[in-house]
Symmetry: C2
Subunit: 271 residues, 2 copies
Amino acid sequence: MTKSELISSIFSKKSYLCVGLDPDIERLPKCLQEYDDPIYEFNRAIIEATKDYCIAYKPNLAFYEALGPGGWKSLEKTMRVIPEEMFTIADAKRGDIGNTSRLYARTFFEKFNFDAVTVAPYMGEDSVKPFLSFEGKWVILLALTSNTGAADFQMLETKDGKSVYQQVLEKSQSWGGVDKMMYVVGATNPVELAAIRKMVPEHFLLVPGVGAQGGNLREISLSGLNSDCGLLVNVSRSILYASSETDFAEAAGQEARKLQTAMAEILRKID
Amino acid sequence: MTKSELISSIFSKKSYLCVGLDPDIERLPKCLQEYDDPIYEFNRAIIEATKDYCIAYKPNLAFYEALGPGGWKSLEKTMRVIPEEMFTIADAKRGDIGNTSRLYARTFFEKFNFDAVTVAPYMGEDSVKPFLSFEGKWVILLALTSNTGAADFQMLETKDGKSVYQQVLEKSQSWGGVDKMMYVVGATNPVELAAIRKMVPEHFLLVPGVGAQGGNLREISLSGLNSDCGLLVNVSRSILYASSETDFAEAAGQEARKLQTAMAEILRKID
């Protein structure tokens, strides 16, 4: 998907919500356990209930890998029921030497036809570049994550006064343009998000941490929006597990709708 | 596998060779293409030919993921033909927020029964710790990798004069002891390896980059050995693709044997 298609999807649906498809087998509603593939049935119902309110879906690969070969089949089937116009993100956090990164890239971009994949920056440019050579595909590079461990290395101050994650933002801008690269920026600190927005004024940011991890939608939007919107706000658990009963999909839809309504309100200010 | 079991395996086989099982579907010998599962047949033959000369196997997950659900089946079958006494490493370079890392850990340690998994440190302590809570299982944390991109962030100098990878070595020592944690240290620079050995005198180091990536076995051994041996030297391509004809397994065995002979010679000096 191109950047202008993504922007147009956001403004026409008045939403920058990304739904994280992280189906924890132990938390699925009991009513799904009779199915051969409860993960797929869960995803299918969640997608059906939320698709009017979001513009992206982000399966976290760990949840599928954990189920062995069957999990990858559930993911394949899930990808087939995600509507064409959705932006799809493989939350894989991969990154390896060049020939290996190339294989990961082909897996997610060609086999599964994802629009984007999350990539870890630790191994540097040649580990990221193979992901950038696919037309219309995106790298979403980890910059500042939303967990407490972000303080261990991402926030280390380097000799020239910048933190490691700021170095990641700075260096990686020469690897791929604003039409191929986004950044993961955790929503736990709106002040930091505003500073990051100054460093990368035109890049899209994927912001996890709203909901279960405590980030506040309004605060982080005011800090992170640019004139293209420039944000994808990911919400997983508070949508997926809004109810654990037979009404789980309806409850998920309502939760997504609440977020979309709030986003429409916020977007009105920049449109 | 415990540390003392690993050490005992090294000294009894006079080898610290780890064979990287990275079966590139495009480079497999033609004679295997008639099989239903050429990846598995390739691995099985390589394992049979090399098992007397190495003490560990390291499948890189990218090569299996690239093949979809079938690739994961090939990996499962491969794990079943690796002899019990081998140390097995899932080269996955994973790392995510706690609940997600826990899922990855269960996948590799419980479903596949690997002894170790490679983990990327960028997301910090809470992304690594879930991998450390499995008895007899190991984390192999990326410290200094062998690719050129290592210079981008790993070698950045932090305010207190240490590089980022040195900070990784230093901080992570409090997360897990020498019986649960190893480090990936690229073989491209023996001087750096010697300095790293001083920082982590008792930890095992997994050293890629010998062979196809240019590292020299003797040099890196002299820089990295400690009294437990303390090294696992990984070689992939120069063993796997020693021949592309029907004698591929025999050629792989000869290549592994050459390395083992050189290692036996080197080990004699510290035994």
